[in-house]
């Protein structure tokens, strides 16, 4: 397959630990299975047969925060939901990432009022914002790819 030729007679390949770890993290990044509003429909669509996010090693949506690496905040977060969201985030094991999917999760969207958090970045630290109302599955996949690029650039000295 080509790998054998690269290994050569020694059966050894050298790589930087950073690259190796980041590569493995991007290729098995499990999102948490939860949706808050209509963006969740597009998220489901991105997971389903037509768009099939499992191409990027994301076939497993984990319904438990303890097994997931990525939180996709799909929808508007009400003030009452915000503590619950933060609690879910705190339960996720490190390393963890957050995608704010859609306008509502990014900045409050059309819901500029007392009941909705004006951007989920007030509650959890967001890595990637995906614009759209709701974003199409392509946009979400682009957001995921952008996050993967970000993870690939992570430095060992920044790991906690």
């Amino acid at each position: 397959m080509g790998l054998e030729q690269k290994l050569g007679n020694m059966g050894v390949v050298t790589a930087r630990l950073e690259d190796l770890v980041n590569w493995s993290r991007t290729n098995a990044m499990w999102p948490m299975l939860f949706g808050l509003a209509c963006c969740a429909i597009e998220m489901m669509s991105a997971q389903a047969a037509n768009y099939d996010m499992s191409r990027f090693g994301m076939e497993l949506m984990r319904p438990s925060p303890r097994q997931s690496d990525l939180m996709i905040v799909a929808g508007r977060v009400s003030r009452k939901m915000a503590p619950v969201l933060r609690r879910l985030y705190d339960q996720m094991p490190d390393p963890k990432w957050v995608i704010a999917m859609g306008d509502c999760a990014s900045c409050g969207g059309v819901f500029n009022n007392y009941a909705v958090v004006q951007g989920v970045d007030e509650v959890v630290p967001v890595d990637v914002y995906v614009a759209g109302c709701p974003p199409r599955p392509e946009a979400l996949i682009h957001g995921v790819i952008t996050l993967h690029e970000k993870v690939r650039r992570e430095k060992m000295k920044d790991w906690a």
Binding site: R79, K80, P83, R86, D90, C107, G108, N112, N113, Y114, A115, Q118, G119, D121, E122, V123, V124, P125
Partner: protein, 174 residues
């Protein structure tokens, strides 16, 4: 509803000193809050309105007396009738009798009206907030409640808003 509820309306006006108004073919009966507990009992027992379809409130701020209207809609399944009742309430320390013992679904509906308008229902078994967080201050659907809009962040004022935006941290206390 096909059947006419004029008989019920007349009786309510006569017995409880109500005031009937018609708008767009719908009759509303205005009943004073002191007589509303008895009137609701009669609406249920005597006039056979076995369902309270919905209830809500309206805030007519800055009017003081009455400031609020409680709006009830009763349905009689047997007689195929519906009935609108309005109960005016003054601005200071607004209270109303609960309908919880007559219509059980009034429990949550009255909690919602309390949550949004701050109208206390006397005799209610569980007068807590239902929609907003329990430590919320104020009642959001009152007209004098501040709108609380946040200024939208565009490219020209991005930095200005970015400075005071409460960004979350990765871990607590960091």
């Amino acid at each position: 509803m096909s059947e006419n509820n004029s008989v019920v309306t007349e009786n309510l006006v006569k017995q409880f000193g109500g005031q009937a108004t018609e708008f767009a073919g719908e009759i509303s009966v205005m009943i004073a809050v002191e007589k509303f507990a008895d009137a609701a009992r009669a609406i249920h027992d005597e006039f056979k309105f076995d369902l309270m379809s919905s209830m809500t409130a309206v805030d007519y701020w800055p009017e003081e007396n009455p400031r609020f209207h409680l709006v009830y809609r009763f349905t009689s399944i047997a007689n195929r009738q519906s009935l609108n009742v309005r109960v005016p309430i003054a601005a200071y320390a607004p209270t109303a009798p609960t309908l919880e013992t007559i219509y059980h679904n009034a429990n949550w509906q009255e909690r919602e009206v309390f949550d949004m308008f701050g109208i206390q229902f006397l005799g209610h078994s569980d007068m807590r907030r239902i929609l907003m967080p329990h430590d919320w201050e104020g009642h959001p659907l009152r007209k004098d409640y501040p709108l609380g809009y946040e200024e939208p962040q565009f490219s020209f004022n991005f930095d200005e808003i970015d400075v005071r935006k409460p960004y979350a941290k990765n871990r607590r206390g960091e």
